[in-house]
Symmetry: C2
Subunit: 261 residues, 2 copies
């Protein structure tokens, strides 16, 4: 590897040194969670550097998720939030009536947070190709598109966009109502003859797009978990797929499952 990236090169650069010093100070508890770091001007003076250099150092910390800057107030040590854990049980029948808001609400409540789910849109559309593939339908088969935003304590944590063939959901609350009733959306699917029996979860992580940063109010330095969930009925036919984008700093996935031969 002859080419090097910025950070490699900066290994002994002043900004990197300052960042490393601050990381040490944070790790050693000199600055605890929520504490304010010295101002950029003070740090510049202390390290015999220009303020722009300190700004770069702090930007690195922020990008790592270790600190958060607030305009006009200062730079603060970030407190690691509790995780919301989601997994296979999210879809189990016994979870359905656990809480008005479903598994998300239950998990939020367990964390002492106020859950809120906002169904922002319900549309009837021609599906994007990746949706059609997951639903195993031809690309011109219409689907319902339900856009849900999940909040805890008024902070947006997740975006979930659910797709299902229109023919399955026509006339049911899934196609025309934000309220899925006490049994939830999977109760509705079950009534239509599609009991959720298998699920497939395709997971990756990435940095949010600028649009996602804005809409999910994701702080700098926090990635998102990008999850495609697909539900299958007892005959292994897919009947719904949901694309979740979750703030990674608040979210964990937790699956337990049998191993087959």
């Amino acid at each position: 590897m002859t080419t090097q990236n910025r950070k490699d090169h900066a290994e002994y650069a002043q900004a990197t040194e300052i960042a490393a010093q601050l990381r040490r100070d944070i790790a050693e508890g000199k600055y605890g969670p929520g504490d304010r770091l010295p101002s950029q001007r003070k740090l510049a003076e202390q390290h015999n550097a220009v303020r722009g250099t300190v700004d770069r150092a702090i930007r690195d910390l922020v990008d790592e998720g270790l600190a958060i800057t607030e305009w006009g107030r200062g730079t603060f040590v970030r407190q690691k939030p509790q995780w919301m854990r989601f997994g296979r049980r999210r879809y189990s029948r016994s979870m359905r009536t656990f809480n008005d808001l479903g598994p998300f609400g239950a998990e939020a409540a367990a964390q002492g947070k106020e859950p809120f789910v906002d169904c922002a849109a319900i549309d009837r559309i021609i599906p994007p190709s990746d949706v059609a593939e997951r639903l195993e339908i031809s690309p011109d088969t219409e689907v319902v598109r339900r856009e849900n935003w999940y909040y805890a304590d008024a902070e947006a944590l997740q975006l979930g966009v659910t797709f299902a063939p229109w023919s399955i959901v026509e006339g049911t609350p899934v196609s025309n109502s934000a309220d899925m009733g006490p049994e939830g959306i999977y109760g509705q699917f079950e009534r239509q003859g599609y009991p959720i029996t298998f699920i497939r979860e395709e997971i990756t992580a990435r940095m949010p797009s600028p649009d996602e940063s804005l809409r999910l109010q994701i702080p700098p330095g926090v990635p998102v978990i990008d999850l495609w969930h697909t539900g299958y009925d007892d005959q292994h036919r897919p009947f719904e797929t949901t694309h979740f984008v979750m703030r990674a700093d608040y979210s964990a996935l937790d699956y337990d499952m049998p191993v087959e031969d």
Copy 2:
């Protein structure tokens, strides 16, 4: 929300404008994957800005994973790599003999990559508390620690650190050899009376630490998937747990599983 982060504030800043323009150009194909962007000095001239401003804009692109800079050469549009997908089948018995290198090797080969697994260390240690909890052992029970690095085409993609009670692995290759034989590590566990029957996967994502960036050679703007895997035998006793850190831009997880009541 009265406080705003850096990016919100910079919404109409010049650097953000330049970044947005470059994003558009990339999206529209003006610059394709692998193409070199104009030099910072040229871009500065074009946008009537100073080079520092252009540098900030490009840094944003790099942090998003859209571009990669090479010192002395220029800034290039990043090509999105193929993903390696891992999931439940990674542990199934039928996968064990698929390839000398196991599921990782099989997946790499499927992507046309040259797989290589390096067992960097085998130690006998007192486990960290999170390991002891997952193995359901007392914190003073010794365990084996196996550190594995996974490469594809000489690029490090994953780090996996496996822990298992020393009492289980004593005298077996798991405790003293990099080579697990044709049946792999789970074949060894099975011989000791621990057939892998259930798994638990705890998944989250985060930005890599500077150390991880260095050792996995992770480009800026790429998060890691942080995965704790635990294997259980037919009596639901945990016998091994592995902590994976995976480059998120190359890795996806793909699970299919039954839903239970």
